[in-house]
C-alpha cells in the first residue's frame, strides 16, 4: 500500500487522497474490465482474466492499460463478459483463447472483433457497445452501473469514482435528524421484501432511549431466484458499507453487522476485504475522520436458513442461536440485537443511501410512483430470452420488463405468468402484465415486489407444480416453532401432491383455500403468514390448471411425472439413434433411419432423450 493510503484523519484528507489517486491514474489510457462475479466465474471467467493479464504483460502494456476485475454486470447469461474503455466495447462469451486478439486487435489497434460482439436475439443484429444493447438501454441503472467501474477488492477504485463522499457530507454539516429527514423525504422503502419506509425505521431507532445501538445489513438473500444482493455486495461492497456508516451515524450506533449467506463465498470474501480496508483508512473505528463518531462492522456468516430473512430470527442467529423468530410486540428498532435498538435494512436499501445523501431526497423521489420511489433491481430469470439483473424505475409495467428488457419467450413459446417476490410472493398471469412494479400495486394483485425476484413462466411451466415447489421449499424452511406454519404447510403439500399425482378430488380445492387462509392468519412470523401466497395466487389465476389435473388427470404443461408420458413425434424423428443410446432403461426401440418408439411401460421419464434429441422429436403428453 502506498504511503498515501494510511489513516485519514479529516474530511479534507479524503479529498486529498481522491485527487492523489486520480493523478496516479492519469496515464492509464485503456481499461479492460472483465466480470468476475459469480455468474461469469461459473462460465470460467477466471481463466479469461488470467489470459488477458498474461497477454497484457507479454505485450508490455502495463501500466498504461489497466485490467480491472469487476463485480457482476447483471447480464450473466452472456458471460464471461469483457468491456473495453474508452469505446464501451462489449464482448460476450469470451474464452481464454480470445485474449491475444482482444489485446492485440482491440486494445492496441482499436479494431473490433465481430464474432465476440453481442447479437440481439430480437433483431438478430450485432451490437458494438454496451450502451447500445437493448437489455441495458431499457433500464435505469443507478446502483448496478456502479459495479462495472470498480474492482470490489479495491477501496481506491471506489474512492476514485467518488465513493466515500456521502459519509463526509453527513458528518460535516448534517445532524442525525437531517440525515433521517433526508431519508424520510426521499420515500426510500425497504428493498428486502416488506417495503417498510426506511426513514421511519431509522427515526424510531434514533428515538429509542439507549446508549448502545446496532445497524445490520441483511445479506441473507434466501429467496430462491433472486440474486441482486449478492451482486451488489460482491461487486461494490464499499457502497453498502458507506450506507451503513451513514445509517449508524444517524441513529448513533457503534456497531454493525453484515449478515451474509455462506452460499455466496465471493460476497463473504469481498465484504471481509472491504471492512479491513475501511478500518485501515480509519473509515471504520474510533473517531472516524476526526469526528466524534465511532463505528465498526463485523461479518456474520449465515447458516443457510430462509427464516433468518425475518428480522428477529436473523438477530437470534447473529447472537449464535437457532434462527427462530419471536413475536414482535416490541419492534426491533427498540428491542433488537442483544435487546438493544437495532436498524436492519437489506443490501439494496443500504446501497441506495449514499446517493440519496449526496444528490438529495428530491433527486431520489423524482423516480418512481406516488408511494414507491427510486429504482428497483429485479432478478429476471426463467423461461425468457434475456435473463439477468435488471434495474428499473419503480412504476415500470411488468410488460416492459418481460418483453422490452427480457426479449420475450424462448423457442416461440407463449409466456403464461411471472412469479414475483419469491416464496412469499405470488404468480401473476399475462393479463396482469400492465400492472406496475410498485409495492402496493403488486400486493393488491396477490403478489409482492419482495426482494425483486421475477421468474418468467411459459406454457411448459405447470402452475400446480410451481405451487408444490414453493410448499416443498417452505416445508423444508419452516423453523417449526409455531403450529400453523409447521403443520399447515405439511397438509397443504399433501393435498397438492395428491393433485399432481392424479389422486386429487374437486373438494380438495376448497379445503386447500381454507387451510391457506388459516395458515396466513395464525402464523407467528412473516414466513408463515405469506407461505400460502403461491398457492392462493395460482388458485386465483390458474384454477383451471388445477381442475385439469383433478378432473382429467392430465398435466397440460407436461411437468407432473405421474400424469405424463413421453412419445416420439414420427414426423420429426430422423432415426438418428441418439435417444436409443441415451436411454438407460432400454425403453426406446428402433432401427437406424427409422422412426423410434418409446415403451411407456419401461420409460422412467428421466428426460434424457428429450434433452439429447436435436430434432425436438420427443413430446410430452
Amino acid at each position: 500500500m502506498p504511503i498515501k493510503m494510511s489513516r485519514l484523519n479529516s474530511i479534507r484528507e479524503v479529498e486529498h487522497l481522491r485527487e492523489w489517486l486520480r493523478e496516479q491514474r492519469k496515464n492509464i489510457t485503456t481499461t479492460v474490465m472483465v466480470c468476475g462475479g459469480t455468474g461469469c466465474r461459473a462460465s470460467r471467467s477466471q481463466a479469461v482474466i488470467d489470459a488477458i493479464g498474461d497477454e497484457l504483460s507479454r505485450q508490455g502494456l502495463n501500466p498504461s492499460v489497466r485490467l480491472c476485475v469487476t463485480g457482476c454486470h447483471g447480464f450473466c447469461e452472456q458471460g464471461p463478459v469483457v468491456i473495453i474503455e474508452p469505446g464501451n466495447i462489449f464482448y460476450c462469451h469470451v474464452s481464454p483463447d480470445d485474449a491475444f486478439e482482444i489485446v492485440y486487435q482491440t486494445v492496441m489497434n482499436e479494431e473490433i472483433i465481430e464474432r465476440l460482439l453481442y447479437t440481439d436475439p430480437v433483431s438478430g443484429k450485432k451490437v458494438r457497445t454496451e450502451s447500445e444493447i437493448p437489455f441495458y438501454q431499457a433500464q435505469d441503472r443507478q446502483i448496478l452501473s456502479q459495479n462495472r467501474m470498480v474492482d470490489p477488492c479495491s477501496i481506491e477504485d471506489y474512492i476514485v469514482v467518488g465513493g466515500y463522499s456521502a459519509l463526509p457530507k453527513a458528518l460535516n454539516g448534517m445532524t442525525p435528524a437531517d440525515v433521517i429527514n433526508e431519508i424520510k423525504s426521499s420515500g426510500l422503502r425497504g428493498r428486502g421484501g416488506g417495503g417498510f419506509p426506511a426513514g421511519r425505521k431509522w427515526e424510531e431507532c434514533w428515538e429509542a432511549p439507549d446508549n448502545e445501538k446496532y445497524v445490520i445489513c441483511n445479506a441473507d438473500e434466501g429467496d430462491p431466484g433472486a440474486y441482486m444482493d449478492r451482486c451488489i455486495l460482491e461487486g461494490n461492497p464499499h457502497l453498502v458499507l458507506e450506507g451503513m456508516m451513514i445509517g449508524a451515524w444517524a441513529i448513533a450506533a457503534q456497531k454493525g453487522y453484515i449478515y451474509v449467506r455462506n452460499e455466496y463465498p465471493l460476497a463473504v470474501k469481498h465484504s471481509l476485504i472491504a471492512v479491513e480496508q475501511a478500518r485501515e483508512l480509519g473509515l471504520l473505528g474510533e473517531n472516524i475522520l476526526g469526528s466524534s463518531f465511532s463505528f465498526d462492522v463485523d461479518i456474520a456468516r449465515g447458516g443457510g436458513a430462509f427464516v433468518c430473512g425475518e428480522s428477529t430470527a436473523l438477530m437470534a442467529s447473529i447472537e449464535g442461536k437457532v434462527g427462530e423468530p419471536r413475536a414482535k410486540d416490541v419492534h426491533t428498532v427498540v428491542d433488537g440485537l442483544y435487546h438493544k435498538p437495532t436498524t436492519l435494512n437489506n443490501v439494496e436499501t443500504w446501497a441506495n443511501v449514499p446517493s440519496i445523501i449526496l444528490n438529495g431526497s428530491s433527486w431520489f423521489a423524482s423516480k418512481g410512483t406516488q408511494n414507491s420511489k427510486g429504482t428497483k433491481i429485479l432478478a429476471l430469470t426463467g423461461r425468457i430470452k434475456n435473463t439477468g439483473l435488471v434495474e428499473i424505475a419503480m412504476g415500470t409495467p411488468i410488460h416492459d420488463v418481460v418483453f422490452n428488457i427480457g426479449g420475450g419467450a424462448v423457442n416461440g413459446n407463449l409466456i403464461k405468468a411471472v412469479q414475483t417476490g419469491g416464496p412469499s410472493g405470488g404468480c401473476l398471469p399475462v393479463d396482469k402484465f400492465d400492472l406496475a412494479v410498485d409495492f402496493d400495486v403488486l400486493s393488491e394483485a396477490g403478489s409482492m415486489v419482495g426482494s425483486g425476484g421475477m421468474v418468467v413462466m411459459d406454457e411448459e411451466t405447470c402452475m400446480v407444480d410451481v405451487a408444490k415447489y414453493f410448499l416443498e421449499f417452505l416445508q423444508d424452511e419452516s423453523c417449526g416453532k409455531c403450529v400453523p406454519c409447521r403443520l399447515g404447510i405439511d397438509r397443504m403439500l399433501e393435498i397438492i401432491t395428491d393433485i399432481t399425482e392424479g389422486r386429487g378430488t374437486p373438494e380438495q380445492l376448497d379445503l386447500l383455500e381454507e387451510l391457506a387462509d388459516t395458515v396466513a392468519q395464525t402464523s407467528l412470523c412473516g414466513l408463515g403468514k405469506t407461505a400460502p401466497n403461491p398457492v392462493l395466487s395460482t388458485l386465483r389465476y390458474f384454477r383451471s390448471e388445477y381442475e385439469v389435473h383433478i378432473n382429467e388427470k392430465r398435466c397440460p404443461a407436461g411437468v407432473c411425472k405421474a400424469l405424463i408420458t413421453y412419445q416420439i413425434d414420427p414426423d420429426k424423428c430422423t432415426g438418428c439413434g441418439v435417444c436409443l443410446k441415451g436411454c438407460v432403461y432400454n425403453a426406446i426401440t428402433g432401427t437406424k433411419k427409422q422412426v423410434h418408439v418409446i415403451d411407456t411401460q419401461l420409460c422412467e421419464k428421466c428426460g434424457i432423450c428429450r434433452s439429447e434429441c436435436k430434432f425436438d422429436a420427443i413430446r410430452v403428453v
Binding site: 459469480t38 455468474g39 466465474r41 461459473a42 462460465s43 447480464f75 450473466c76 447469461e77 458471460g79 438473500e221 434466501g222 429467496d223 430462491p224 431466484g225 433472486a226 440474486y227 449478492r230 451482486c231 455462506n262 452460499e263 455466496y264 456474520a300 456468516r301 449465515g302 447458516g303 443457510g304 436458513a305 430462509f306 447473529i318 447472537e319 449464535g320 442461536k321 437457532v322 434462527g323 432478478a379 430469470t381 426463467g382 423461461r383 435473463t387 439477468g388 412469479q419 419469491g422 425476484g453 421468474v455 413462466m457 411451466t461 410451481v466 415447489y469 414453493f470 421449499f473 424452511e477 423453523c479 441415451g582 438407460v584 422412467e604 428421466c606 428426460g607 434424457i608 434433452s611 439429447e612
Partner: protein
C-alpha cells in the same frame, strides 16, 4: 487449503456463546462435517450446553453431522432452475448413484446435495461439483459428468493399486 485445528478455530472465542455459529462454520469448512466429539469440545469451550450446540448444528443447512462423499454434487433448487427442469436433475443424480439427497454412496465417492439458490439464476439449471459450476445442465449432461467422474475415480484407484504393487 490448510486445515486449522479446533484449538486454532477456538482461539479468541472461548467463553463467548455468541461465537457458536462462527465456530461451527469454521469447523464445517475445515473438516467437512461436525462430529459429536467436536460438538462436545465446542460446548465446553464456549460455555454453551451440548444440547444447544446440537440444536444449532442440526438447524442450519450449512452444517453436516457426518462426512460427505469425495465428490459432492450440489443441485441448485432455486425457482429459476426449477422452471428449467432442476427436478429432473435431482432424479437423474439420485437414480444414477442410488442414493437420496443428503446421502453418500456406499463407496464414499459421491454425495448428492441440494441448495436453495446459488444466485447464478441466469445460467440455470446449475449443478456444482466440489465447488465448480456447471451451467445450463440437462439430465444427459449430468449423466455424462457423473460417468466421467466415476471413470476418473476408478482410474485413480487402479493407478494407486499399481503403485502399491510396483
Amino acid at each position: 487449503m490448510q486445515t486449522r485445528s479446533l484449538n486454532q478455530i477456538l482461539e479468541g472465542r472461548r467463553s463467548q456463546p455468541n461465537q457458536l455459529i462462527e465456530v461451527l462454520q469454521d469447523v464445517q469448512k475445515n473438516y467437512g462435517y461436525i462430529s459429536e466429539e467436536t460438538m462436545q469440545s465446542v460446548s465446553h469451550s464456549l460455555g454453551v450446553p451440548l444440547i444447544e450446540v446440537y440444536r444449532v448444528a442440526s438447524f442450519y443447512k450449512a452444517f453436516r453431522l457426518n462426512p460427505s462423499g469425495k465428490n459432492v454434487l450440489t443441485m441448485c433448487m432455486g425457482t429459476a432452475c426449477h422452471v428449467r427442469g432442476a427436478r429432473l436433475l435431482v432424479d437423474q443424480a439420485t437414480c444414477q448413484l442410488g442414493v437420496k439427497t443428503g446421502e453418500v454412496t456406499q463407496d464414499g465417492l459421491f454425495s448428492v446435495e441440494h441448495v436453495n439458490c446459488l444466485g447464478a439464476c441466469a445460467l440455470g439449471p446449475i449443478v456444482t461439483e466440489n465447488g465448480s459450476y456447471y451451467h445450463h445442465m440437462t439430465p444427459g449432461k449430468l449423466r455424462k459428468l457423473i460417468e466421467t467422474l466415476s471413470h476418473r475415480e476408478k482410474k485413480d484407484n487402479q493407478d494407486a493399486n499399481k503403485n502399491v504393487q510396483a
